[in-house]
C-alpha cells in the first residue's frame, strides 16, 4: 500500500502549481517587453494579492469546515471606515481596536446564527454582507475618510521593511499561522473532522457547533484585518474597499485544491491560488486590455481552472 500511495499521482493537490507555472510562463513570454518579469512588477503582484491571500487563508478554514463566508468583502470595507473614523477622532490604537471589534462582532453574529440557530452560512453571510457594506456607507455618507496617521499607514501596507512592502509580511504571517493551525493544532484537526464527516466528529466528542462558530469568527476577524491593510495601503477608509473579495478568496481556495465539500484543506495551495488570481489580473492589465475584457477573461480562466482541477 505504501508503494501505491507513492506512485499515485495526485492531480488535484498538485494541480495549482502546474497551473501557476503554466500561466506565469505564458505571461512571461507574451509580456516580457512590458516589464512583466521586472522585480517591481513581481513585487506588485504580491502587493496586490496581499489582502486576498490573507482573507483566503481564513476562507480555507471556513471551506474545510464545509461552510462559506460571503460577508468578508463587506467586513473589510466596514472595518476600513471604522478604523479611519476612529483614527481621526481618537488615534491609531483606538482605530486598530475598533477595526478588530468590527470583525469580532460580525463574526460572533455569523457564528451564532449558523451554529446555534442553524441557518445555512451561505444565507447568513450573504445577508451580513449587505448589512456591513450598508453600515459602512451610512456612517461615512459614501465619502472616503482619509487617514493621516503615518505609523498606521506604514504598518498596514504603505511602508516597507527593507526592500519588501509591509503588506507582504502580513500575507506571509497569515499563511504561516494558517498553515501551522491547520496541520499542527487540535483546532485544525477538529475543523477537518467537522467538515469531513460531522456525525463522526460528534461521535469523537468534538463540539462541532463550536468549531463552526470558531471558523466564522476567525474569518470575520481576519477580514477586518484585511480591511485595515486596505486602509493603510490606500491611506483612506472607504465602504467600497473589499467589494467582491469574497469571490476572489473563494476562487483562490478552490483553485488551491481545497474541496468545496469540506474535510480537506491546503494553505500553501490557497496561497498559490491567490497568487494565480493576482497573476492573471496583473497580466491582463499589462496586456492593456480594457476592464470589460479583463473581467470576461478572468472569469473564463477561473472556470476553466476549477473544471480542470476537478478532473480525476
Amino acid at each position: 500500500m505504501n508503494i501505491k500511495s507513492l506512485i499515485r499521482f495526485d492531480w488535484r493537490s498538485s494541480f495549482i502549481y502546474w497551473m501557476f507555472a503554466l500561466i506565469f510562463l505564458f505571461f512571461a513570454l507574451l509580456l516580457h517587453n512590458d516589464g512583466f518579469l521586472g522585480p517591481n512588477n513581481l513585487l506588485n503582484i504580491f502587493r496586490q494579492t496581499a489582502t486576498i491571500s490573507v482573507m483566503a487563508v481564513a476562507m480555507t478554514f471556513v471551506i474545510a469546515c464545509a461552510e462559506i463566508d460571503l460577508s468578508i468583502g463587506g467586513v473589510a470595507g466596514l472595518s476600513s471606515v471604522v478604523v479611519a473614523l476612529m483614527i481621526r477622532d481618537h488615534g491609531a490604537v483606538a482605530g486598530v481596536c475598533a477595526g478588530l471589534g468590527v470583525g469580532l462582532i460580525v463574526g460572533t453574529a455569523n457564528g451564532l446564527l449558523v451554529s446555534r440557530i442553524g441557518i445555512p452560512s451561505f444565507l447568513v453571510t450573504l445577508g451580513m454582507q449587505g448589512v456591513a457594506v450598508g453600515t459602512a456607507a451610512l456612517i461615512t455618507d459614501y465619502a472616503p475618510i482619509p487617514i493621516l496617521n503615518d505609523s498606521f499607514n506604514r504598518i498596514f501596507g504603505s511602508g516597507s521593511i527593507g526592500k519588501f512592502p509591509s503588506v507582504i509580511f502580513w500575507s506571509f504571517s497569515a499563511v504561516l499561522i494558517g498553515w501551522i493551525t491547520l496541520t499542527r493544532t487540535t483546532l485544525g484537526r477538529r475543523i477537518l473532522a467537522t467538515g469531513g464527516n460531522r456525525d463522526a466528529a460528534e461521535f469523537n466528542g468534538i463540539d462541532t457547533k463550536r468549531i463552526k462558530f470558531t471558523v466564522l469568527l476567525i474569518s470575520s476577524t481576519v477580514a477586518a484585518i484585511a480591511g485595515m491593510i486596505y486602509a493603510g495601503r490606500l491611506q483612506t477608509g472607504r465602504y467600497e474597499w473589499g467589494a467582491g473579495d469574497e469571490l476572489s478568496a473563494i476562487a483562490a481556495v478552490i483553485l488551491g485544491g481545497t474541496s468545496l465539500f469540506g474535510g480537506g484543506g491546503t494553505i500553501i495551495g490557497t496561497l498559490f491560488g491567490a497568487l494565480l488570481v493576482g497573476l492573471i489580473n496583473n497580466g491582463l492589465i499589462l496586456a492593456g486590455l480594457p476592464v470589460s475584457e479583463q473581467q470576461i477573461i478572468r472569469g473564463l480562466i477561473i472556470i476553466l481552472a476549477v473544471a480542470l482541477a476537478k478532473k480525476k
Binding site: 500500500m1 505504501n2 500511495s5 501551522i180 496541520t183 499542527r184 493544532t185 487540535t186 485544525g188 484537526r189 477538529r190 477537518l192 473532522a193 469531513g196 464527516n197 456525525d199 463522526a200 466528529a201 461521535f203 469523537n204 466528542g205 468534538i206 474541496s259 474535510g263 480537506g264
Partner: protein
C-alpha cells in the same frame, strides 16, 4: 475478592425498555466474559440493537442494572461508554474520509509536542504500535477514503483498541467483506480475545457464529430465549430459537399457479456486475413472484441494481418476452417496463418534504403533462385514484410524505411505480421499518399486483414474507444462485433458514 478472570467484563441485568408503550426489551439478562466472543442473535426487531444501544448510552433503559468489571455503572452517553471501555465498531459513522488512518485513530486526542502542536509522526508511530499489537497491516499514513471497506473496518477496530476498549461491539461486521477479508478480520478478533478483550458479535450468519464465537445469546420479541455455549447447541436449535417456529399463517401461500411453458417475461443470462454479482441467470414468468433469499451482503440487492441499470453490468444478457434488451441506466429500465422499489425509501424512494401527490407524479410526469405544462386536473384525479387503490392513510394528496407512517410511505413508493404500468417490479426489502399490520397489507398488495399479471422479484430478509407470497425462491450466496426451490417444496421457515445459511437440512 474474586479472581479477575471470573468477573464478567460486562453484565446487563433485568434490562427493560419500552418505546411509546411497546415493550421492546423485557427483563433481559446478558453478560460477557473476559476474552470471549459472544454472539447476539435474533430476527430484525428482536431487540438486539436496542440492547446494544443501551450499552452504548444511546438509549436509557427503563429498569435494570449494568456492571462493568463488577462495578455498577451509569452510561448516559457514547462518551461514558467509551470511558468504561465499551467500544463500538461502526459500519460507517466514525471515520473522517479525508484524514489518514493514524489521524483517525487519534482524532480528538492527538499526541502533542512540547509546543502544544500535533505531531503526526507521533500519532503514526503509536498507531503503528496498536495495529501491530492486534496483527493488522495497514499503511497508517494512507487516507481512509483510499482504503477498502475491510480496511476501514479494521481501522475502526484499531481506533477502539487504541482508546483502550475492553469490550467491542461488532454489528454485522462481515456484511460487506469478501471471504479473505473475513479471514483477516477473524484473525484480528482471535488476537484481541487472547489479550483479554471481549467481543459482542451480532450476525445472521450461522457459519461465522460457529466459527468465531464461544457463546450465543438469542433474543426473540424482546425476550431472552437462550444463552448457551455454542458447543452445546446445534445450528438447527439456534434457528428454532430465533424464529420461534412463528406462525406464518397470516401470510399463508395461496398456491396460485404459474404457466412456465410460455416465454419468460424476463430472462437474465450470465449476469456479472461488480464483484457482488457473479454469473447470475434466472427466468421470471408472467404473474410470478420470485423471491431472492440470502444473508445481508450476499449480493441480493446488487442483482436487482444490476438488472435495473443502477450498477454497470460487466457481462450478461437480458431478454424481455424473448427479445434482447440493453439496459444501461434506470431510464432504459423504466422505458422497458421495469420498476424498482428501493430498500431505503427515505433516501432513494421519496422526496420526504414533498406531498404524496408530488411524489407520485414524479415518475409519471409525461403522462400528466401536455407540452411540459402540468395538467393539474389530471394530477388530482391521478393521485386520488392512487390513494384509494393503495389505501394510503390518511387519504390526503397534499400531505407531506414525511408525516406518514413507514408503511404508508412505502405504499406511496409502490403506487408511484405501479402507475408507470411496469410489467416487471423489482422490490428490495419492501417492509423494512414497517409495522406488522402494514407489512401484511403490503404483502397482499404484492400478491394482487402479481394476480394482475405483473412479474415481481422480491428481496427480503423476512423469510415468512417470502414464504407467504413467493412462487419460487432462489437462494443467493456470495453473489451466486446456490439453489432454487419451489414454494411447495419448502417445508417450513426453519427449512428455508437452513438453506439460506448454507446448511443442508
Amino acid at each position: 475478592m474474586k479472581e479477575v478472570g471470573s468477573i464478567n467484563t460486562v453484565e446487563m441485568k433485568n434490562i427493560s425498555k419500552s418505546f411509546f408503550g411497546t415493550r421492546v426489551l423485557k427483563d433481559v439478562n446478558f453478560s460477557v466474559r473476559p476474552g470471549e466472543v459472544h454472539a447476539l442473535a435474533g430476527e430484525n426487531g428482536a431487540g438486539k440493537s436496542t440492547l446494544m444501544k443501551i450499552l452504548q448510552g444511546v438509549y436509557t433503559m427503563d429498569s435494570g442494572e449494568i456492571t462493568v468489571a463488577g462495578n455498577p455503572v451509569v452510561i448516559n452517553s457514547f462518551q461514558d461508554a467509551q470511558n468504561f471501555g465499551i467500544g463500538m465498531v461502526f459500519q460507517e459513522f466514525s471515520l473522517i474520509p479525508e484524514l489518514s488512518v493514524a489521524q483517525n485513530i487519534y482524532l480528538n486526542r492527538e499526541p502533542k509536542n512540547k509546543l502544544g502542536l500535533i505531531t503526526d509522526a507521533g500519532s503514526a508511530a503509536s498507531a503503528e504500535k496498536v495495529l501491530k499489537s492486534v496483527g493488522i497491516e495497514i499503511d497508517v499514513t494512507a487516507k481512509v477514503s483510499s482504503l477498502s471497506r475491510a480496511y476501514q473496518q479494521l481501522t475502526e477496530i484499531a481506533k477502539a483498541i487504541a482508546a483502550e476498549a475492553k469490550i467491542l461491539i461488532l454489528d454485522e461486521p462481515t456484511a460487506s467483506l469478501a471471504k479473505h477479508e473475513v479471514d483477516a478480520l477473524f484473525k484480528v478478533l482471535k488476537q484481541l480475545t487472547s489479550s483479554g478483550v471481549s467481543i459482542i458479535y451480532i450476525s445472521h450468519r450461522m457459519d461465522e457464529i460457529y466459527q468465531i464465537c464461544d457463546r450465543i445469546t438469542i433474543l426473540r420479541d424482546g425476550n431472552l430465549v437462550a444463552t448457551e455455549s455454542l458447543q452445546d447447541i446445534t445450528p438447527h436449535d439456534v434457528i428454532a430459537h430465533i424464529t420461534g417456529r412463528k406462525d406464518v399463517e397470516m401470510l399463508s401461500h395461496d398456491g396460485h399457479q404459474i404457466n412456465r411453458s410460455s416465454t419468460p417475461t424476463l430472462k437474465v443470462e450470465n449476469l456479472v456486475a461488480g464483484n457482488r454479482v457473479k454469473n447470475v441467470s434466472l427466468d421470471l414468468y408472467k404473474g410470478e413472484i420470485l423471491g431472492l433469499a440470502g444473508l445481508m451482503g450476499s449480493g441480493r440487492t446488487e442483482i436487482l441494481r444490476a438488472i435495473f441499470g443502477l450498477d454497470k453490468k460487466s457481462s450478461g444478457k437480458l431478454f424481455l418476452n424473448g427479445d434482447e434488451v440493453s439496459i444501461k441506466n434506470p431510464r432504459d429500465a423504466k422505458n422497458s417496463g421495469l420498476a424498482f422499489i428501493p430498500e431505503d425509501r427515505r433516501r432513494q424512494g421519496l422526496v420526504m418534504e414533498h406531498s404524496v401527490s408530488a411524489n407520485i407524479l414524479a415518475a409519471n410526469l409525461e403522462k400528466l403533462s401536455h407540452l411540459s405544462f402540468l395538467n393539474f386536473e389530471k394530477i388530482k384525479e391521478f393521485s386520488a385514484t392512487a390513494i384509494t387503490d393503495f389505501e394510503i392513510r390518511p387519504p390526503e394528496a397534499s400531505r407531506q410524505v414525511k408525516l406518514l407512517s413507514g408503511g404508508n410511505q412505502q405504499k406511496v413508493v409502490i403506487a408511484k411505480w405501479v402507475a408507470t404500468n411496469p410489467s416487471i417490479i423489482l422490490m428490495d426489502e419492501p417492509t423494512v421499518g414497517v409495522d406488522i399490520g402494514t407489512k401484511v397489507e403490503i404483502m397482499k398488495l404484492v400478491r394482487s399486483l402479481a394476480a394482475k399479471g405483473n412479474s415481481i422479484i422480491l428481496v427480503s430478509s423476512e423469510l415468512p414474507e417470502l414464504l407467504g407470497v413467493c412462487d419460487r425462491i432462489l437462494i443467493i450466496k456470495d453473489g451466486e444462485i446456490r439453489d432454487e426451490i419451489s414454494r411447495q417444496d419448502v417445508r417450513d421457515e426453519d427449512h428455508l433458514q437452513l438453506m439460506v445459511q448454507g446448511i443442508s437440512a
